[in-house]
């Protein structure tokens, strides 16, 4: 009787493990697919092509994850998917930082440009003041 009970328990454990494995596989598959879908968003975000290499790497890792998934190497798939998630986050942050850098460059450029305009305007002002003085002298 005890033997039967132990056998039933083992069966139940086995069935439970199988169910858990199936659930994880499904979860991993969903994550891979959502990451694939997110790649095009990332590419669209990267309008200045600042993280092209990183995106290529992400794509290759997603392919790798899928290969591992086919081989039902769940642990390996999980590890690659985690890396893909981290890489996607990195790409987003890099794009955001790059855009902020571009914005900063733009603002600094605007400052430089305005300073140049100030210099030119100051020179024009000096010239105009000379002209004005000459005209005033003439009119006296």
């Amino acid at each position: 009787m005890k033997t039967v009970r132990n056998g039933v328990m083992a069966l139940l454990v086995l069935l439970g493990a199988q169910a858990l494995a199936g659930q994880e596989a499904e979860d991993l598959k969903r994550q891979i697919e959502s990451q694939r879908a997110a790649v095009s968003d990332l590419e669209r975000l990267d309008d200045h092509h600042m993280v092209t290499d990183e995106i290529t790497l992400l794509k290759s890792w997603l392919d790798e994850a899928w290969q591992q998934y086919s081989k039902e190497e769940w642990k390996r798939v999980r590890e690659v998917v985690d890396r893909c998630i981290a890489q996607a986050e990195l790409i987003r942050d890099r794009i955001t930082a790059g855009k902020m850098t571009a914005y900063a460059n733009d603002r600094e450029g605007a400052v430089r440009s305005t300073r140049e305009k100030i210099e030119r305007t100051k020179k024009a002002l000096l010239d105009a003041q000379s002209t004005k003085k000459a005209l005033e002298m003439n009119s006296k």
């Binding site: 930082a97 902020m100 914005y103 305005t114 300073r115 100051k122 105009a128």
Partner: protein, 379 residues
């Protein structure tokens, strides 16, 4: 035996030696040298500590020759650290952008001020230039007005001079210069015509000059023509006066006027008959009417010299006849003076029987020869 030992030792050394470091771990180590590493630690401590943990683990795995695991952990650690560095880069860029934005506001303000100054100065320049232009235009306008005034004045002067020349020409015409000073008059007319044409052509200087010349020519023409004209006019007037005198004399009752020329002198003789009885030198009554009419004519023409000459027939001695004719002429002279005729105009003489006008052999002839003639003399 020793060779076998050596081979064994070599295999043992090779087996215990550290494998080559994975590229991923190498790259991870280099990433850790980033100058922003400390900033990343402050910004994202969790990410950096996780990357540190993975770095240590990767190193251990490398040391224990588990290269695949070492590579994978180095990759993951690198991603974490790169993410932390990206966050730092974002912050730094944001700080730069904020600073630049703040600076931009300041420089924009400065630019605004400088540009405003420039615009104001340019506006002032434009006003000064406009003022200069206006002054210049005003000066030009004034100059133009002065020129116009000068032109108008010159035109006025030319017109005045032409008018003066026309007046002079009129004066010349009054003395009939067209006839008596043909050359000068024609020259004046031509010159005046030229002056008029020049006035129309607005050549006022030449018009003035020619008008002056025309006036002078007209004056010369007048000067030349005047004596001739005056002489001619005088002759004409004298003739008219003489004719009038003859008409008035013919109007005296009982008078028969005789016009004749002797040398340069013209004579209008009025024979008075029947004034005296035979051989008398006293005027008979009843002759007053004739004498009154004669005296009136004499007074009407006061410039004529007059001869009062007595004549007789030829009966008697010559000296006696001369005396009687003289006395009769004097009686008429006195009667005329008595009637207001100026005495000194008249010359009295007695010619006796000289210059008979009829036959002394007949009574009627002798009656005609006995007479006193009042003779008006003129040229």
């Amino acid at each position: 035996m020793s060779a076998r030992k050596l081979l064994f030792a070599a295999i043992l050394v090779a087996g215990c030696a550290t494998p080559p470091k994975p590229n991923e771990l190498d790259a991870f180590e280099k990433l850790k040298q980033s100058p922003n590493y400390q900033a990343a630690q402050r910004k994202a401590p969790e990410l950096v500590s996780e990357s540190e943990r993975l770095f240590g683990k990767s190193n251990e795995e490398w040391q224990s020759n588990d290269l695949d695991l070492s590579r994978r952990d180095a990759l993951m650690g690198s991603i974490k650290l790169k993410t932390a560095l990206a966050l730092v880069e974002y912050d730094q860029s944001k700080a730069r952008a904020d600073k630049a934005q703040a600076e931009l506001r300041i420089v924009d303000d400065e630019y605004g001020r400088v540009n405003k100054d420039l615009m104001a100065t340019q506006e002032q320049i434009a006003l000064l230039q406009k003022l200069k232009e206006t002054s210049s235009q005003a000066a030009m306008q004034q100059e133009k007005m002065q020129r116009e005034m000068a032109t108008r004045e010159a035109a006025g002067q030319a017109r005045d001079k032409i008018a003066a020349a026309e007046l002079a020409l009129k004066g010349a015409e009054q003395v009939n210069a067209a006839e008596f000073a043909k050359v000068e008059y024609q020259a004046a007319q031509d010159t005046l015509a030229r002056a008029r044409a020049q006035l129309d052509a607005k050549d006022y200087a030449m018009a003035s000059q020619n008008a002056d010349a025309a006036r002078d020519q007209a004056a010369r023409a007048m000067q030349t023509a005047k004596p001739t004209y005056e002489k001619s006019a005088s002759t004409t007037a004298s003739q008219a006066r003489n004719e009038a005198l003859a008409r008035d004399l013919a109007g005296i009752p009982g008078a028969q006027v005789r016009l004749e020329r002797r040398g340069d002198m013209q004579r209008a003789a009025v024979p008075l008959r029947g004034l005296f009885a035979r051989k008398s030198t006293v005027i008979q009554p009843g002759s007053e009417g004739m004498l009154d009419a004669l005296a009136a004519v004499l007074k009407k023409y006061p410039t004529y010299s007059v001869l009062v000459v007595g004549y007789t027939d030829n009966r008697g001695r010559r000296d006696e006849l001369l005396a009687r004719s003289q006395a009769q002429a004097t009686a008429v002279y006195s009667a005329l003076v008595g009637r207001g005729v100026e005495a000194k105009r008249m010359v009295v003489s007695g010619n006796g029987a000289d210059e008979p006008v009829s036959d002394n052999r007949t009574t009627a002839g002798r009656a005609l020869n006995n007479r006193v003639e009042v003779i008006f003399l003129y040229q």
